[in-house]
Symmetry: D2
Subunit: 269 residues, 4 copies
């Protein structure tokens, strides 16, 4: 006795969105990711390859693989200076578990923090949609930002005059033949900025350029930073839990300036 699909649906009321995915195919004793059995990936490709595979859909070439590995390494840690690291340690100091403290740290990857790499990728990718010589596009872009009195994302650094990681990434990009038009544009921007304001490319700028030349869409920028930085956050959380007293006190009452309304009476009663 044939049961019509429609009547069955009525019984179970199942017009909810099914789960569809092109990332992994799971059956009993069967785990395939982007077309590869996971037991074939394990031991045959590097973690950087898997990041490429998951986010781009295919495995990288040898040079691309080494390049992405270098980029992931370059994100690893910047001590206790970034808000994300301070947040992860503050959360850990309250006794929050590791996974919650790490999540708190990642919540600081807003537009102004890890976001720089994404914004720089967007800037490079959208600028190159315009006609014109790369050197000309760079000049126009810099003058435009100077006129708006805005910082160009990926250039200049809170703590470094010449970010040693940026130079290294660009050097490797040459070795691995990963320099394309995005890196050329970033280098031209740096040339102009250097001359006018003595400002250099930082690691976000270098990584933004090379990731763009590797074919990554700018929307992947923050995600890449998070993957590269998570081990550092976890190391800091472990250190906080092992070495510091609970409930880290980062300031004294004297460090706070209150500028709100004064109460009507000084003592209650």
């Amino acid at each position: 006795m044939a049961i019509e699909k429609k009547s069955l649906e009525k019984i179970f009321d199942v017009n909810v969105s099914r789960w569809k995915t092109s990332i992994s195919w799971i059956e009993e004793d069967f785990i395939v990711t982007r077309g590869y059995f996971q037991e074939d990936l394990i031991g045959n490709v590097s973690f950087a390859d898997v990041v490429f595979l998951l986010l781009r859909g295919n495995l990288p070439s040898k040079d691309e693989s080494k390049m992405l590995d270098a980029i992931l390494v370059s994100f690893c840690d910047h001590g206790v200076t970034p808000p994300s690291t301070q947040i992860a340690r503050l959360a850990a100091s309250t006794g929050s578990p590791l996974h919650a403290s790490a999540a708190a740290g990642l919540l600081a990857f807003g537009k102004e923090h890890a976001g720089a790499i994404q914004e720089c990728m967007k800037l490079l990718q959208e600028t190159l949609k315009n006609d014109g010589k790369v050197s000309q596009l760079a000049k126009e872009l810099v003058y435009d930002y100077l006129e708006k009195d805005e910082k160009i994302p990926g250039f200049g650094h809170r703590y470094h005059r010449r970010d040693p990681r940026a130079a290294r990434i660009l050097e490797l990009a040459k070795d691995y033949k990963c320099i394309g038009r995005h890196a050329q544009l970033a280098l031209e921007i740096e040339k102009v900025l250097n001359r006018l304001k003595n400002i250099s490319m930082n690691i976000d700028g270098a990584n933004a350029a090379i990731l763009s030349d590797l074919g990554f869409h700018w929307e992947i920028g923050t995600g890449m930073f998070m993957i590269g930085r998570l081990p550092g956050l976890i190391a800091h959380i472990n250190e906080e839990k092992a070495e510091e007293k609970p409930f880290r006190k980062t300031l004294n009452l004297g460090d706070i300036e209150y500028h709100g309304r004064k109460p009507d009476r000084i003592m209650r009663g």
Copy 2:
């Protein structure tokens, strides 16, 4: 005129906890992590090496490096089946940004999810503090759990009878000479469990054993899982944002059973 440190401290009231760290040393144009200049790490060591360096304090041997890389790859994705992935996609479907959706996913790495690897590491490490032959310790452990009617963390799987990733990790551990007493204990446990209940080691069990033999303390388990899984979460978030309609509807009203108090009147008025 010398100013005594003490009186200065009074002025600034600075007896708050200073930030101390042994992870990275940051000065202008100078970034050192665990004793290495980051520009020397970039391009010379793999991301798996940096994970080892950050969480253990020193660089791994060649075999250890390949082993950890394989373990990180093995965590990469399990489709939409785990709560962490469903959460990341549900959050993304509400228009929450990528970093917030990924953080939401990581918040599902509680004791019962990614926690299994950590609990299995703890079990193996603490069991081996006891005297006795490994096979004997394994037998006692299994009987103890059967008597308590509890699942042994790291053995059995919701979806797989023979987890193909576990076998592969153990095979590589032999190749890379990373089999030690923890892996032996895990294999003995599997032998007994297999005979009695037809249950096998899963990927958490295999990784827990090998990470323990690599010298990692059990407290690092969840952190390692998070590092390995984050790229998969990001891939799913991207897929949700690109392919699905906003505000994913996973259930119909008919899928919910209400068993609370009934209201006094059926219609208001």
Copy 3:
């Protein structure tokens, strides 16, 4: 001997941003919030008053106080249907602690979920910057959205044809004399939408209108929703932990459709 501030700063290198706030003034045994001693607020004003005080800067009138209290109550819970509630319960089911599970739930308050109230507030507030009669502005707005084939935030509901909470909030707004131009605009929009498409105002629309008439800037919308909904999320987390088995399984392998690349070989070996 006067010490110049500048030289002291050099010694301590303190040109970091000081913490400034106009919200609370804390000294020893002294806690003042928005100009009131907290021991005077406690027992003398309601929680809704404190929400108003914190977010607007001053205490509300009696009618405003009752109105905001009603609005906060109206956010309280919508069963297990919203992504935020499903996420909080999924996270709790993995053994994640309550505070982490609740945070995960709040991470689902993106543009498409709790965001509707904020977008509706923005729409009403910006529309009223234009000249013209409210009924005319409403008509233009509806036709504009119909032409773009977009949903107007705050109108229509996934599960309800006539949202009973919306009618009640509007009724109370009349009693408490909180109906202003924003509510008039919302009611005019509803009139047109109702006639053309049989679509009514939902609770987000009603709350957006009244919060706007209470003088709240649209940027406060999501925050207000979070305050009102958090108790519901916590109730669901407690229920999940008390009543359900760990690691909630919301789907079977058969519920997933894989449409990615097929692996080259079906069995490995």
Copy 4:
């Protein structure tokens, strides 16, 4: 033709856990929470009543309602001193959206922060399971903690010698007839601690005692704190976004002490 449920289940493979709840019952145009139509709750009960209803299952008496309202108010804000507030502001300063910044703040409600209230509730509730006079139980408890050289949760405060909020809550508890054995025990503990160490009850201790006397299980402690504090966190996030420059810099390189491994060479070359 009757279709057997069992065969249908086979077709749809639905032995996943259904969503069950006793909190809210949602049907079209029908929203019932804990047995009350939401349109009846709105405007008739306060937000504090709804918190009680959601977390205890029934509406409070008039005195209980006022008591809980006072307790929720007492949590409202403690300026920028707590880690949770600093985290929320740091996250907001990176450009992370409000809901993500608030979630980050809540992730700091670990055992050592908001956790004190929960631990104090547990301590009071478990101590009272023992036989003996309350004054005797208090004495034993204090001596036990002094011997272990541990802080009793809910007593003593980082910034206050006499927490003005605690005295106020206890005063109101007398007015509202909410003083029971838990409050008596807390007051006896304070008496002993005051005599021996000049330490007083803080707001967490007072709230823990009264919430216990109101019949709340200790597991609800952190949740109650979160509900009461969320508006304060949101006020701080708004202030940070409105008043401060992005990417708040809380420390200078000189504020950090590096005590890890020194690199082998000072300059790379």
